[in-house]
């Protein structure tokens, strides 16, 4: 297994979780530092389950999650945000009856920095949101919704951002833009990122390290540059 540079932000050990008594994740162990850590895998591999478990939206049945040196395996979901973990779900990522600005404000109630300062930063990152600020989020396109969801997570000043397939179903233009933004968020803001993706090619371009999930098991955890096509195919069970 490859190792993080310096002290890991997140350490996951022997993690199991799933739905209705069925374990989707089976003894997952990895750690993440201040880096872009990509989780790759085919449909049903357990990527969404993993990120939802880390965000404490799904209760793990075994194993431990340590975040910034604290065991967070059993904390309530609402405490993860206050501890610096931001989560962007794959779908239904916005509150449809609130405006774009109200959506951003829902995320901006943690920490001491002023809300205006954070909004300015988010709008600087996603300039389109400035023009859409009074629009009801339920009327946004898929790409615009993802920007709102990502911007809202950044409003919490996270140290680690969990992105669940942020480019799924988007046009190539949006896909390129999102991967550029992901790199920018990490490099300019110093935010660690766990990026669950099916688009292995694009994900490997921005990732420092990678974990390939295969049927709920960590098939490979390594530096992104060392992952071979054969390993990827085997992990995707192609």
């Amino acid at each position: 297994m490859s190792e993080t540079n310096g002290t890991p932000m997140l350490e996951v050990s022997g993690l199991r979780s799933g739905y209705h008594g069925v374990n989707v994740l089976k003894d997952i162990t990895f750690d993440v530092g201040n880096e872009v850590f990509s989780v790759l895998g085919a449909n049903g591999a357990g990527k969404t389950t993993l990120l939802a478990t880390l965000a404490r939206l799904i209760t793990s049945t075994a194993g431990s999650i340590t975040f910034l040196g604290n065991n967070v395996t059993r904390i309530p979901a609402f405490e993860t945000a206050a501890r610096g973990m931001g989560y962007v779900p794959q779908e239904r990522g916005v509150f449809p009856d609130l405006t774009v600005m109200e959506n951003l404000n829902v995320g901006g109630m943690i920490g001491e920095r002023s809300r205006e300062e954070r909004i300015d930063e988010v709008v600087a990152l996603f300039p389109d949101l400035g023009n859409l600020s009074n629009q009801i989020a339920g009327t946004l396109s898929g790409g615009e919704s993802r920007m709102v969801a990502c911007g809202r997570a950044l409003m919490q000043d996270p140290v680690l951002l969990l992105l669940d397939e942020p480019t799924a179903g988007l046009s190539p233009l949006y896909v390129d833009m999102f991967f550029e933004k992901i790199a920018e968020i990490h490099q300019d803001k110093g935010v660690g990122i766990i990026l669950a993706e099916q688009n292995a090619t694009k994900a490997l371009e921005v990732a420092d390290r990678v974990m390939v999930l295969s049927l709920g098991e960590a098939f490979a955890v390594m530096d992104a540059a060392n992952l071979t096509t054969d390993q990827l195919k085997e992990g995707y069970r192609i």
Partner: protein
């Protein structure tokens, strides 16, 4: 005070409408914003009414009617709020079916207690002895003044609901109702939020129940039928669950039409008031509800928040 111009039917009709609007406004916070389908409205209404009534009539108060009334009202409101806290704690993490059964079950428990605890509630025979905490001369004047007081209370509830819509707390309720896991992931303690909302809403419903009991002057289990819950819910659905004004518009439209206009101003033969008009009322209410659900499923006012903001953006 000369109130000859005032029809007694108008007072009672308007009073019923205002009470329904008050309950619908509180239900709007629970159902319209936070998507908690509280089918036990009458339970909280009833427990507040009986807690107030029992304390007000059974205790030999050493001071005057007004302080006794205020203490009893506070007690009824508190008991309803604590009941809401308990029921809310039980249902806050349940799905829609669980919430429906839990709240409906609570209303049934209150009805059974009111019927069987004869020493306290008078059982099926009812509990008499309630009176207005003042005397302004005639029964009609007392009732008219009580109507004004209840209108003021319901107006305050409306202003509170209107204010909630414009605060971060209101946005939190909308966010919790729309996508609770997402709200939790953003650091919102949604369980606590729903619990307090349920407790405060239930306390308000209990207070309205107590005010209703004073106007009735006689508490009986017949007051605790499911029709109270349905009236509040139907008013809200017809007016628009997502809007504060929805409860007001729906309440006046669906209940005001019959309870005020038909009963007070249309000279139907008196014999019709026994069965024909109440039955016609139920039929018309059902038809209006069906029509609204078919042609305007978001209620007459619809999702005006969305429409208004879209107009602002696109002109």
């Amino acid at each position: 005070m000369n109130l000859n111009w005032l029809d007694a039917f108008l007072i009672s009709g308007l009073f019923s409408v205002v009470v329904i609007i008050g309950l619908a406004l509180l239900l709007h916070l629970q159902l319209g914003l936070t998507r908690i389908a509280n089918f036990g409205v009458v339970g909280f209404f009833g427990i507040g009414m009986y807690s107030f009534g029992v304390l007000f009539t059974k205790v030999d108060w050493p001071f005057g009617d007004l302080p006794a009334f205020l203490v009893s009202l506070a007690f009824g409101t508190l008991v309803a709020g604590l009941s809401g806290l308990l029921v809310g704690w039980l249902i806050a993490d349940l799905d829609e079916d669980g919430v429906l059964v839990g709240t409906l079950g609570f209303a049934t428990v209150v009805f059974i207690l009111a019927t069987t605890e004869q020493d306290l509630t008078g059982g099926a025979l009812g509990l008499g002895g309630l009176k207005f905490p003042y005397d302004v001369g005639t029964v009609k004047a007392d009732e008219f003044l009580w109507l004004i007081i209840v209108i003021i209370v319901v107006t305050l509830i409306f202003l509170y609901v209107w204010w909630v819509h414009r605060t971060p707390y209101g946005r939190l309720l909308i966010a919790t109702g729309a996508n609770e896991p997402l709200a939790r992931s953003l650091g919102k303690a949604t369980f606590r939020t729903k619990l307090w909302l349920f407790a405060v809403g239930s306390a308000g419903m209990g207070m309205i129940g107590a005010l209703f009991g004073v106007m009735e002057r006689f508490l009986a289990p017949e007051n605790l039928g499911i029709d109270v819950t349905l009236a509040a819910m139907v008013a809200l659905v017809i007016g628009g669950t997502a809007r504060a004004w929805g409860a007001v518009i729906g309440g006046f439209l669906i209940f005001g039409f019959f309870d005020i206009i038909v009963q007070s101003y249309i000279p139907f033969p008196k014999a019709w008031y026994g069965q024909a008009i109440p039955n016609a009322k139920l039929i018309v209410e059902g038809l209006v509800l069906m029509g609204v659900l078919l042609f305007r499923p978001l209620g007459i006012l619809g999702a005006m928040r969305r429409d208004k903001l879209m107009r602002r953006v696109h002109g």
